[in-house]
Amino acid sequence: MKIIVSVKQVPARDSSLRELETSDFSFEMNEPDAYALEEALQLRDKLGGEVVVVSAGPASAGQIIREALAKGADRAIHVETAEGERMSDALSTATLLAQAIKPEAPDFVLTGLQSDDLGYGQTGVVLAELLGFAHATIIMEVEPLDGKVRVKRELEDGWFQHVTLPLPAVLTIQSGIKKLRYATLMGIKKAKTKEVRVIPAAAASEAKVERVYAPERSKKSQIFTGDARTAAKELVEKLKFEARVI
């Protein structure tokens, strides 16, 4: 089995608004992609074969590629874009990824269901269309069959569904479905000798981000910021006499 897992480098999840506005944040692997990587590693451990990590992003994305290799991925392809192209739309990103993935002729392509930064939630689906593969989204369980795969999809409102797809297939993985492994010291050491092929590329985004700004409060909220005791007292006062909910 050849399993491609597509990962993205994003600003750390707990970055504050100020850090995001001033670009003074640290980066990490997109959390849903970390679950896709985990699923890919477990599939390989069960079926044999290799896990190839693919990431489109600037040079600094090498950080999460090494992390994936340290966790056990076998090799990597880094589609290296310019630092200023982080805002490109899912179609242009998936186009770059598809060019790198196509020659690999994989059985599976796994990725997270969405990114924590732009949140388009569509790179996997667009990839499937560009590669001509079947796909399924928001996957909770993966059950490989002979030449096929049966997956459990999450639907809305507590509903689920099983779907069987022919291989090759693209699956977008839901967060939280398995426990994530940590990289071992041995893994980190080994990662240094693993192949990372760098392909320079330029994203051609059709959707343009014109402006990024802090959202205005849509509701008139009353916020209490004092010490816990005073704030709690003021809040309870409001809830009792103004909102009349307690």
Binding site: R13, S15, S16, D89, A90, L91, A94, D117, L118, G119, Y120, G121, Q122, V125, V126, E129, A134, H135, A136, T137, I138, E156, D157, G158, F160, Q161, H162, V163, T164, L165, P166, S175, G176, S205, A207, K208, E210, R211, V212, Y213, A214, P215, K219, K220, S221, Q222, I223, F224, T225, A228, R229, A231, A232, L235, V236, K238, L239, A243, V245, I246
Partner: protein, 302 residues
């Protein structure tokens, strides 16, 4: 500009409202059944192969209609089903899909949330047709009354085009917690940090005579059962009071509790998106605020 709205059981009339923000020239399409009705000309796509949703079937059917009708924009509600096929459909037209839009300004700027709702972005796209989906609750649903006309559009589909074989949808287990009926809900998120700390919010729920709920990560960790999850993948609730403790307010959570009458948020990050939806909020450490709140509530509740 001519706009085609894709109707689904959920959110179709909100997508219609968004479409009217682009143009008065709006038509709609419904797939599989004529269940969703809109007060505009509505194409009905019926075919035995569309009886069950598949991304291949829906993409092929809508591609045929769009090529025939040639709209300048296609607007969808942002449901899980739309997320599953609309990016594929847009790719067929070589177009990006501007997903999960919360507002439209000057007919050309589509407002999207970035970084889990911490920032907004205005996105524009020159190519046509535009493919746009709108976030649940972002647009006030259009009136469903008025005269619409249904027009059957013949789709050509071949069984060999449909690669996935879906089985019947199911629910994991019978729900024993009905959050929908709760008057007050105390909901807990990542900020609680550890399973042992759940007891803190349990006590708060108890003094308020409230149901305990949670955001997704808490249920993923098994700290509370899945049936207590609020959000797009969990339950949708509309209590008199929703008290969010240590919940940052990701879009997926907000859509599940937007209908609450009074929203109270406790979070240490003053810029957490949950405060956007809150009527009252306390910025502070929940481990100090919640015990203080329990004390105060006990006082007024005697």
């Amino acid at each position: 500009m001519s706009v085609l709205v894709v109707l689904e059981k959920r959110g179709g009339l909100e997508a219609l409202a968004a479409a009217y923000r682009l143009s008065a020239d709006v038509e709609a399409v419904v797939i599989g059944s004529a269940e969703a009705t809109a007060p505009v000309k509505t194409y009905v796509l019926n075919h035995p192969l569309l009886a069950q949703y598949t991304p291949d079937g829906y993409t092929a059917a809508l591609e045929q209609l769009i090529r025939a009708v040639n709209p300048e924009a296609v607007v969808f509600p942002h449901t899980y089903q739309v997320r599953d096929y609309a990016p594929k459909l847009a790719t067929r037209f070589g177009q990006p899909f501007i997903s999960d839009v919360t507002d439209i300004q000057d007919k050309v700027h589509f407002v999207r949330q970035l970084f889990q709702g911490k920032l907004n972005a205005d996105v524009s796209c020159a190519g046509r047709p535009l493919f746009v989906s709108v976030q649940a609750g972002a647009f006030r649903a259009a009136e469903s009354s008025g005269s619409g006309t249904a027009s059957v559009f013949e789709v050509r589909l071949d069984a060999a085009q449909i690669r996935s074989q879906p089985e019947a949808p199911f629910r994991e287990s019978q729900r024993s917690v009905d959050l929908g009926a709760a008057e007050i809900i105390v909901s807990v998120g990542r900020g609680i940090k550890d399973k042992e700390n759940i007891a803190v919010v349990e006590e708060l729920a108890q003094v308020l005579n409230a149901e305990l709920a949670a955001s997704r990560p808490i249920c993923d960790n098994g700290w509370l059962t899945m049936e207590r999850q609020v959000g797009s993948s969990g339950q949708t609730v509309s209590p008199k009071m929703y008290l969010a403790v240590g919940i940052s307010g990701a879009i997926q959570h907000l859509v599940g509790m937007k209908g609450s009458k009074t929203v109270v948020a406790i979070n240490k990050d003053e810029n957490a998106p949950i405060f956007e939806s809150a009527d009252y909020g306390i910025v502070g450490d929940l481990f100090e605020v919640v015990p203080a709140l329990i004390e105060e509530i006990k006082k007024v509740r005697g």
